[in-house]
């Protein structure tokens, strides 16, 4: 019986250690469009994300309306004409770190990772892969990534008159500072 308890306890510990989730509610995602006519930058500092270091699962949830721009008109057009944020209020990503074994979460340091998964924007889902870094720091995990997306892939229609103002390929930057989720 004693041994049973030990096995149970060890397995349980193993479970507890493995069910480590890290979360943030104020991560940053920004995108940048550069053309000869104008530069457009949208910043969102209210990105929610969870990273499960036991499985490498990583999810993001972005409220489209929380993107802010230098010009109020850009913000209105972004929401009204391109993202249709009242119809599709959220963008999500769910994916996995594919090279989880190369990250040692017990040792502070910076690790290169590749994340693959489904990116849903404007109610269109595409498989994407992006390179980034995971930085293990005291009290949390920082994650960074830069990748490109093409609005057309997400059925975001850019009409002729403004085609010169918006880049075909948008640069997306992701900066997350995760803290551990208190176990419930």
């Amino acid at each position: 019986m004693k041994r049973a308890t030990v096995i149970f306890a060890i397995t349980f510990l193993f479970l507890a250690a493995n069910a480590q989730k890290y979360m943030t509610r104020n991560g940053y995602i920004g995108f940048y469009s550069h053309t000869a006519v104008e530069d457009i930058k949208g910043d969102n500092n209210q990105v929610a994300s969870i990273l499960d270091i036991s499985t490498g699962d990583i999810v993001f949830q972005v409220l489209v309306k929380s993107f802010h721009f230098d010009k109020a008109l850009m913000e209105e057009h972004f929401n009204e004409n391109y993202m249709e944020s009242e119809k599709f209020p959220k963008s999500t990503f769910k994916g996995k770190i594919t090279n989880l074994s190369s990250v040692d979460f017990s040792k502070p340091g910076k690790y290169d990772v590749t994340v693959e998964g489904d990116l849903n924007i404007h109610d269109v889902t595409n498989k994407v892969a992006a390179k980034g870094t995971i930085e293990v720091v005291t009290g949390g995990i920082n994650a960074n990534s830069k990748f490109n997306i093409v609005p057309e892939d997400y059925k975001i229609n850019i009409p002729g008159v403004v085609r010169d103002n918006i880049a075909k390929n948008l640069e997306v930057a992701v900066t997350m500072k995760y803290t551990p989720v208190e176990s419930k």
Partner: protein
């Protein structure tokens, strides 16, 4: 031994449950379950600060300058000689600026009675969902207009104050869906001097305006003001202003194409001085062009 196996098995079951509980979708669900901490303000109840002739609940955000050029042509029933009204043009220029995100001011000059006008618009409530739920947006707009026509009778004592008129409106709007918005506008217009004794100095009206999005960039708008004062005893026949038109949005510009029975583009003019009747074909074609510049970021 068997017992140990069963313990391991039990642990494994727990483990697999745990695993299933926290798949990627469940992680997303976990994010969803967090309470909404953000206030989700409704945007673009109307595309422009005007429904058509009258103000909409919208205002310029801080640091944004709206340059407006509006035209109303003559009546379409004036015939081919007047090129269906297009030979006569009546223009209004406006410079309108957002001082803060809840206060905007505007200055204008119109052909109609060579009027100079100014207004302030205050955002009182904003429709929102999420952490704060507000069913309607409410704005208040007050304007003043100065008629600068030369006095017809220079022999009497003419006071500057006689050229002034005022309007006050409470704008209550709700965006019912991404494609439909509706606004009510109780309105009070005061004219310091009127043409004859039978004409009231104070005019009360109730406005209603709506916007129906046809495509992402084009909407059908309609606006009507019901004038509450009895209209039968005034020195000249006036009608309730009715306007129908389209908003066409192209990047930085909003074009509004309008059919209306009013010639004036300010409250004092179209509420209480609209002399055209839709039924008789006294319809003016016109347009508003709005171009927004960002002066301060």
């Amino acid at each position: 031994m068997r017992r140990y196996y069963s313990v391991i098995l039990l642990s494994l079951i727990l483990f697999s449950r745990q695993d299933r509980l926290f798949g990627q979708d469940d992680l997303l669900d976990m994010l969803d379950k967090e309470p909404a901490t953000e206030i989700n303000y409704t945007t673009a109840t109307f595309k422009s600060t005007r429904v058509l002739n009258g103000h909409s609940v919208e205002r310029m955000p801080a640091g944004q300058l709206d340059v407006r050029i509006s035209h109303r042509f003559g009546r379409v029933n004036s015939g081919a000689y007047e090129f269906f009204g297009l030979d006569q043009s009546n223009v209004h220029f406006g410079l309108e600026y957002g001082i803060t995100d809840w206060l905007m001011i505007g200055l204008g000059r119109g052909t109609y009675e060579k009027t100079y006008d100014g207004f302030t618009k205050l955002t009182l409530l904003r429709q929102s969902a999420g952490a704060k739920v507000m069913p309607v947006s409410v704005s208040w707009v007050s304007s003043i207009a100065v008629n600068s026509l030369r006095w017809t009778d220079t022999t009497r004592t003419n006071y500057f104050s006689s050229r002034l008129s005022y309007s006050h409106q409470l704008l209550i709007a709700r965006k019912f869906s991404p494609s439909f918005s509706f606004q009510l506008a109780p309105t009070f217009v005061h004219r310091n001097m009127v043409a004859t004794e039978v004409d009231p100095n104070d005019i009360y009206a109730l406005g209603a305006g709506g916007r129906l999005k046809l495509t992402k960039r084009i909407s059908l708008n309609a606006e009507y003001y019901y004038i509450i004062n009895p209209k039968d005893f005034m020195s000249s026949k006036i009608y309730n202003p009715l306007s129908v038109g389209f908003d066409i949005e192209t990047g930085g510009h909003v074009f509004q194409l309008i059919f209306t029975n009013s010639r004036a583009m300010i409250e004092k003019g179209f509420i209480g001085e609209t002399s055209g009747s839709w039924l008789k074909g006294d319809i003016h074609f016109g347009f508003n062009i709005s171009r927004v510049f960002t002066l301060k970021k």
